[in-house]
């Protein structure tokens, strides 16, 4: 249990470092197409985690949570794609989205090695850590740097969704702590 907590603390640190000066020399400066790419990537990563949960878990609370993640993050992606289409913007890959994808690959490999209740705990611990990190990124990196008002408004609308997901994940996490 302690090991799992340590792994996820490390994940939070790694993602938090994305927006700190120590990772890239300075806070990354993102254009709107790059911000759109980070937003879509971050949502897609959580959909992929949910797919693994659907394959591996038999726990009703975990499966319900994963279904909500898959559905909600897909809705956000759909809105983001509709907006970039409207604005005539093509999401552009960048250092933040690449780092998110690289870290997600490591996490997915780790999740696939687990089964039963160990998987459930690992999945939900990751969801708590991941949502904390994404909230931090959206709040302190993406929203402040977004230039287009509609893109900024969309990110601001996504923030309460991420916060509710975090609260939900923590609620499920508490069930496993009993």
């Amino acid at each position: 249990m302690k090991t799992i907590t340590n792994i996820f603390s490390a994940v939070i640190m790694m993602i938090a470092l994305l927006i700190s000066s120590s990772s890239f020399g300075q806070t990354p400066k993102l254009t709107d197409p790059e911000i759109a790419s980070v937003a879509v990537t971050a949502n897609q990563i959580d959909i992929n985690y949910a797919k693994i949960a659907k394959e591996k878990s038999k726990n009703a609370d975990v499966l319900k949570f994963a279904a909500t993640m898959a559905s909600d993050h897909q809705s956000v992606i759909d809105q983001a794609v509709a907006l970039v289409k409207k604005l005539g913007v093509t999401p552009k890959d960048n250092e933040v989205s690449k780092k998110l994808n690289a870290d997600a690959e490591t996490t997915k490999k780790m999740l696939r090695t687990k089964s039963g209740n160990t998987f459930n705990k690992a999945y939900i611990h990751n969801e708590v850590a991941y949502h904390k990190a994404v909230i931090e990124t959206v709040q302190n990196l993406l929203i402040p740097q977004a230039q287009n008002a509609e893109l900024k408004a969309l990110l601001e609308k996504v923030l309460p969704i991420l916060k509710a997901h975090l609260e939900h994940a923590e609620m499920v996490q508490k069930m496993f702590a009993k």
Binding site: S71, D72, S75, V158, I161, A164, M171
Partner: protein, 140 residues
């Protein structure tokens, strides 16, 4: 002396009558039919919500807005037979489901859509998709 007292009394009556007129001329704030439900959510005060199509003796229609992953207002006081319309302003789907024994549920309300219900009793409800979202209906 008597005449002076009568003058004072007459002036006082004028003042009182003017205050009375002022009080009656002031129109209390009207309910805006297009307004969303009141967002004054506290444990001590349950807002009445904003009624639509108000006619004396007829059931009222109230709106609960769903935005930023919260029901607005979180608690609403209505009469039995009144209707509540939940409107989903969020990007994601929500639902409205009774907490205990789940005797009623809206099923999923997609983004931009609404669902209505005639209130027959007080209920605590939540969004079964996002269980951290909770609301309350107090039926009088």
């Amino acid at each position: 002396m008597r005449i002076r007292s009568w003058g004072i009394l007459k002036n006082s009556m004028y003042i009182l009558f003017s205050i009375f007129l002022l009080c009656n001329c002031y129109d209390s704030p009207k309910k805006d039919p297009s307004a969303r439900g009141a967002a004054n959510d506290t444990n001590n005060h349950i807002p009445k919500g904003e009624a639509l199509g108000i006619k004396k003796g007829q059931p009222h229609v109230y709106i609960v807005s769903i935005s930023e992953m919260t029901f607005h207002p979180k608690a609403i006081k209505v009469h039995k037979g009144d209707t509540i319309i939940w409107i989903n302003h969020d990007l994601v789907a929500h639902c409205v489901t009774e907490v205990s024994n789940k005797p009623w549920t809206s099923s999923a309300i997609p983004s931009g859509r609404s669902w209505k219900m005639v209130v027959i009793q007080s209920s605590d409800y939540y969004c079964a998709i996002h269980p951290v979202m909770k609301g309350k209906i107090v039926a009088e």
